[in-house]
Subunit: 362 residues, 2 copies
C-alpha cells in the first residue's frame, strides 16, 4: 500500500491510500477556495453532563447534489471535485464542513470562559475527515472487493494513529452513514472519521460499566459479553477464527450486529494482520446479510467503538456496531419521544428473531 499526502486549495489535508505501490498522485487542486477557517464549538450540557457540538456553518453543506456534481467523485479535465486526482482507490481528506476542527488560531481548548459557571463553551477542537471507499459513484461498501475493504481498514487504522496524537483529542470514531433515510447528504460511498475533544457519552457509559464490572469480578466485561454470546449461540450471526458477529442481547435497533475480535485489541491499529484479513470478508458477509433481510434498500450506520486515546485503554475493547433503522419493507424505526427525549429504547424485533433472519439471509 502506498500513502501520498497533499493539500487542497484551501489548505485542507488529503491522503491517498493506493493499493498499487506505483501510484503517482501529483495533481494539485485547481479550484479557488477561500481558506479553511470554520470554528466549531462545544457546549457543556449541565443537566445531561455531556458536551454538545455546535457548528452552524454546517447548515450550508452540500445537500444531495446530482450525480454529475458529486464532490467525492474524482476530478475530470472539465470538473474539479474535492479529489484532484482522476482516479483513486481510497482517499481521506478533511471535511469542508467539519463538526470538529483544530484551526491554527485556536491555541488551546478553552476559547471562552464565561462568567456564568453553568454556561461552558470551548473550541470544538479535533478533526473531521471524509473517507471515500471507491471512485465508483454508484457502488456501496457491501459491493467492495475484500481487498478494498482491507485498504479501508488500513486507512482507518492509519488515521486513528495520526489523529490520536493530536492535542485535545480524546477519542477517534470511524463510521459510515448510509442512506437518505438517515440523512446522508452525499450518496457516493464514503464514511467519516471524527476526532472528538471529549469522551462521547456512549464511551463514558461503557467505561463506567467495564470499570464497575472489573472491580466486582476482576474480569473484562467485553470479554465476558463475547464469551456469553459464544456459549449461548442464539444470537450469533457469523463466526470466524478471529472474530464473532452477534446480535446484542439488549439490541436497541431492529437490525443490529456487533463484531468483536477474539483478542483484546483496544483499537483498529492494534489488530494483527490475520485479524485485518478475516475482518475484510466477515464485515462484508455480515453487511450483505443485513442488506438481504428485507426486500428494500437498507439505510445503516457502521460505527467503530475504540478505546479512548489517553485513558482506560484496557477497559474498552474494539468492536464494530452495525445497525439499521429498517424494521420491515417500507417501514422504518424512528426515534420518537421515548428514545429521543428519555433515552429509553423499545425494539420491535426480538434479538433472537433478528439473528435467525440474519443467519438465514443471503
Amino acid at each position: 500500500m502506498k500513502k501520498t499526502h497533499a493539500r487542497l486549495a484551501d489548505g485542507r489535508e488529503i491522503i491517498y491510500f493506493d493499493e498499487s505501490d506505483g501510484a503517482v498522485r501529483d495533481l494539485s487542486d485547481r479550484r479557488e477556495l477561500t481558506p479553511f477557517r470554520f470554528r466549531p464549538t462545544v457546549r457543556y450540557d449541565v443537566l445531561a453532563d455531556e458536551w454538545v457540538g455546535v457548528a452552524d456553518f454546517r447548515q450550508d453543506r452540500t445537500h444531495l447534489p446530482p450525480a454529475d456534481q458529486c464532490p467525492l467523485c474524482p476530478s475530470t479535465a472539465s470538473r474539479y471535485s474535492e479529489i484532484p486526482a482522476h482516479s483513486y482507490d481510497v482517499v481521506v481528506f478533511e471535511n469542508r464542513f467539519p463538526s470538529f476542527a483544530t484551526v491554527a488560531t485556536t491555541a488551546g481548548p478553552a476559547e471562552h470562559t464565561p462568567a456564568e459557571p453553568l454556561l461552558q463553551l470551548q473550541a470544538g477542537a479535533g478533526h473531521s475527515e471524509v473517507v471515500c471507499f471507491t471512485a465508483e459513484h454508484d457502488s456501496s461498501f457491501s459491493a467492495l472487493a475484500p481487498d478494498r475493504v482491507r485498504t479501508v481498514i488500513e486507512a482507518w487504522a492509519d488515521r486513528t494513529i495520526t489523529l490520536s496524537s493530536l492535542p485535545h483529542v480524546e477519542q477517534i470514531f470511524c463510521f459510515e452513514n448510509r442512506g437518505e433515510e438517515i440523512g446522508v447528504t452525499l450518496s457516493h460511498p464514503h464514511g467519516q472519521i471524527y476526532a472528538y475533544p471529549f469522551l462521547t457519552p456512549r464511551t463514558r457509559r461503557m467505561l463506567d460499566s467495564a470499570r464497575a464490572y472489573r472491580e466486582r469480578t476482576e474480569r473484562n466485561l467485553f470479554a465476558d459479553v463475547l464469551a456469553t454470546e459464544q456459549r449461548s449461540g442464539e444470537r450469533i450471526v457469523a463466526r470466524g477464527e478471529k472474530w464473532t458477529a452477534f446480535v446484542p442481547f439488549a439490541a436497541r435497533w431492529p437490525l443490529e450486529v456487533h463484531l468483536y475480535p477474539h483478542s483484546q485489541a483496544p483499537d483498529l491499529p492494534a489488530l494483527s494482520d490475520a485479524e485485518r484479513a478475516e475482518l475484510s470478508w466477515l464485515y462484508l458477509d455480515v453487511l450483505r446479510r443485513m442488506e438481504a433481510v428485507f426486500d428494500d434498500t437498507l439505510p445503516y450506520i457502521a460505527a467503530w467503538h475504540q478505546a479512548p486515546v489517553r485513558i482506560d485503554r484496557d477497559l474498552v475493547r474494539l468492536h464494530l456496531q452495525l445497525f439499521s433503522i429498517r424494521r420491515g419493507p417500507g417501514r422504518l424505526k424512528y426515534l420518537a419521544g421515548s428514545e429521543s427525549a428519555m433515552g429509553a429504547f423499545v425494539n420491535d424485533i426480538t434479538p433472537e428473531a433478528a439473528a435467525r433472519m440474519l443467519r438465514e439471509a443471503r
Copy 2:
C-alpha cells in the same frame, strides 16, 4: 371537569375527561376483540447500563390508516373505533400495542432469571396509554383552544397520580410525537403516556448531575439553570408570571425550547391552578412560534420531564422539552453515527440564533 371510566371490549381501560360536567358516557365498545394479553419485556444492556424494551407484537401496529379508518376518531353508527362514544373532549385509553404493560399473569417484575448473569430479562411491567386531544381528526395540538389545553393538562396530571401508584412503576412520561417524519403512525392529534418500570437514561443523568451539584453547592441545579437563563436573556423565547421558555444553552436540536415553572414542582400534579392556567396559553404560544419559524410542516416531540415516582423527588424539577428535527424548509436533522452510536450531538443552529428566530416568529 367530569371524569368517566369505562372498559373496551378487550378489557383495556378508557377514561373520558369532559369539559362539561353534564357529559354522559354510557356507550359500550361493540367490537369483538381478543383479550388484551401482550407481554412486553425489558432487557438489561450491560455495556450501556440501561434497560431496553422489547415488544415484538408492536410490529403489527396500525400504520398510517386512511382518515376514514382512523382508530382515534369517535365511533359512528356504522364504524367502531377505539373510542365507543360519538364525540369526546379528551380521552385516555390503554395502548392496544403497549411498549410497557402489567398483565394479570405477571405477578412481579422478574419473569425470567437466566443462568447467565449478563443476560437479564424481565417483564416490561408498566403502562402505555394514548391521549386524544380532540375529536377533530385534522386538527393539531397547536390549534387547540387554551381551555382544551387545560383539559389535557388536567388529564396528564390525573394519570400521573394514578400511574405513580402502580407496582413496579418508577417514572411517568407524558409526551406527544407529531409528524410522519418522526414516525408517527396515526395523524389524529394525540399524545401518549408511558409508565416505565425503570428510571430512563436521561432522568438518571439528570439525577446524577443534580445530586453532584447539590453536594458541591447546596443548591438545586434546575433552579440555577433557570436563574442563569433569566439573567442572560439571550436564549429566552417567552416569559410568563409562572413560567419561562428558553432555548437551552447546549441545545441538541435545531429547534429546542424548554419550559420551566418558576416554582419547585417535581411533576404535573404539583402544579398550582395559576400555573396550569398560564401553561395553557404559554405552551400554545411557544409551539405556534416553533411552527412559524420554517415555512414547512413541523415534526416535533413534546416531552414532559417529571421527577421519579419513588426517589429523589426534590432533585429533578418538572419541565417541558419541546424539540424538532426540522433544521430548515425541506431539511431535517437526522441522528446519524455520532448521535445514534456515540450519543454525541452536533447542532447546526446556535441556540442564540434559534431563540432569536423564535422570538421573531408569529
